[in-house]
Symmetry: C2
Subunit: 345 residues, 2 copies
DNA sequence: CTGAAAGCGCTTACAG
DNA sequence: CTGAAAGCGCTTACAG
């Protein structure tokens, strides 16, 4: 049970000053070779490692990135974290993760805590509740303090900062277009409630595709689901009452549920009903039939977000803090593409 | 762009000493009411929040937990993190997550970095490579420094510390017993290579169940898969050559692959082939047919691990550091149970 | 009732 | 070549 050794202890043992120890370990030429080597040998022997917290305080930077996301048990967010984590590590950063559980209050609280010195910058995706409320003061506060924020996926125009997104509308448009190209005429949409920004954009893409192809827009073919748990009833209604030959679902959970329920009713996928889902997760690959999806490259989104943030953190220090240069934020749009599987063959 | 305000600045503005400001904000009765209120009002107005890093340095504790796991894009690990995160937050702790990518070197590196003051204790699950090498010096080092470690799921007997596990052998035994109870006689096992501890225990349970029921042990019915990517060939061989009426898979990815491949060959699940998988993940719920699984309550494992760690951290401070009381570690076994679905009906 | 001092563990500009 | 001092932002035992 030997506690970690400190500079002070080494200095005492070796009967030199703390400064000398510090400089020796940083290989400063200021220190005579003999002392330097002696200190280094001693430090090595005792496994000396500088205390990160002390360094953080001294340097005014923590070399850690704060991630605030709605959920972690969600394939898409896991992949994003994966992407962030790898780029972060490569650059000597650690990541500290907080979950908002899609709650506004938790999001605010988490960000306040992390902003008090624990991290150098944020990568975040808005909670549902935050999007619904449209209250982003906590994010602005953080930014005003001079802490960079990169938002991904669920972003908002009300905040000026770097963003990494996909073109949800376009991706949805292309998915629906694909269904149309395959001869489908009556395409249903299974989406979320409107305040989730990405849900809304995807709905827009759907509508636009129908319009551009001169297909009638039938409100009855659109269902908006609040939470996944009780989506079955709504979907059952759709299947019972409405005649349609294709469905575009804004996530794979909706899609797989539809497929399973359709199968039970003797509706064959893809013959009677073609299905395309948003989010290329794990379910689509293993469902029967496998599901055609819009890939939403989470790893890529995470990597890009991390790169942007780190870039900002590292250039920030070079700029003299005096001149308030106008910051130019960028929005990177990650490419999506359709992964064709059995549900649309 | 108003940077965060510090005690020093407040002191200067109000023309009092830093000590006075600090005490006022902590509501110390030492300070006269007038000054106290004045300071508090001022601090509130400027949104003063103490700097976490400074507090960490001062208190010699960071109130953050380090999590080191093999992977994050993996439903089981996500749920564990979820469990940890919630308990941590409830108790005022943050979590910092590092991925080992199943690499020994990354695991060692991550732990070394975190151990240098960034966290108060570890929750971890061993990487495959670490288990294979059997080299745990990095974990012992951390423990010797006086930093508590709680291991979960992939643990080792070679390290003395708190552990949260399931009884892999028993759970596997019960799963196989269930298959036998349903009249299955020739049960195949699809497992991982032996050095993954949980894989080994599950294999042991399988063997024992056969033995106890007087069923012949047929080595040809056991396949060990190194990595998921190329499991199809091995599984194909099994399906082609061997006659069997049930299969126990040590994870749901293996199980769903088998089901899909069996279907293609006209083998009906569950009629011709009953399937039970370990790990109750997302795939099992949405596969067709849905898969009977051994639930492995990740949230619960995470919660318990976090509670144990926090308990240790909080009692630690009470004990005077002088007396080296013998530490008694505990191993908590989380209950598992079978979730019956369509693959064994 | 208020403040100067020491200290958490480190770095670095400045003296000597 | 070596070390005392100041400082990162905070707390607290001790003087006054």
């Amino acid at each position: 049970m030997k506690k970690k050794v400190t500079l002070k202890q080494i200095a005492k043992e070796l009967d030199v000053s703390i400064s000398t120890v510090s400089k020796s370990l940083r290989n400063s030429l200021e220190i005579g070779e003999e002392t330097r080597l002696k200190v280094q040998a001693f430090a090595k022997f005792y496994h000396y490692k500088p205390n990160n917290i002390a360094l953080s305080l001294k340097n005014r930077k923590t070399k850690t990135i704060g991630i605030v996301i709605p959920e972690i048990v969600h394939h898409f967010f896991s992949t994003v974290i994966n992407g962030i984590e790898h780029i972060a590590n490569e650059n000597g950063y650690n990541v500290i993760i907080c979950l908002s559980d899609d709650s506004f209050d938790k999001e605010v609280l988490n960000m306040e805590i992390l902003a008090n010195g624990s991290i150098d910058g944020f990568i975040m995706s808005l909670s549902k509740e935050t999007q619904q409320k449209g209250d982003f003061h906590h994010i602005n506060e953080v930014i005003n303090q001079g802490m960079p924020v990169v938002m991904f996926d669920r972003v908002t125009n009300d905040i000026l900062c770097d963003k990494v997104i996909i073109n949800d509308e376009l991706a949805a448009y292309e998915a629906v277009q694909r269904l149309i190209d395959k001869g489908r005429k009556k395409i249903a949409l299974v989406t979320t409630v409107d305040y989730v920004s990405v849900g809304k954009f995807r709905t827009d893409g759907y509508t636009k595709a129908l319009w551009d192809n001169g297909l009638p827009f039938d409100e009855n073919l659109i269902i908006k689901i609040e939470n996944v748990e009780n989506c079955e009833i709504t979907i059952a209604q759709l299947l019972e009452e409405k005649a349609f030959d294709a469905v575009f679902a804004v996530n794979e959970l909706f899609a797989v549920t539809i497929i399973k329920m359709a199968n039970k009713r003797g509706i064959k996928v893809p013959e009677d009903l073609a299905v395309i889902a948003f989010t290329d997760g794990i379910i689509s690959k293993y469902s029967t039939p496998t599901i055609t999806t819009v890939s939403q490259n989470g790893i890529e989104m995470g990597s890009v977000a991390a790169k942007i943030l780190i870039e900002r953190l590292e250039t920030e220090e070079e700029e003299s803090e005096g001149e308030e240069t106008e910051v130019v934020y960028k929005t990177v749009v990650i490419e999506t593409h359709l992964i064709e599987r059995e549900s649309t063959l």
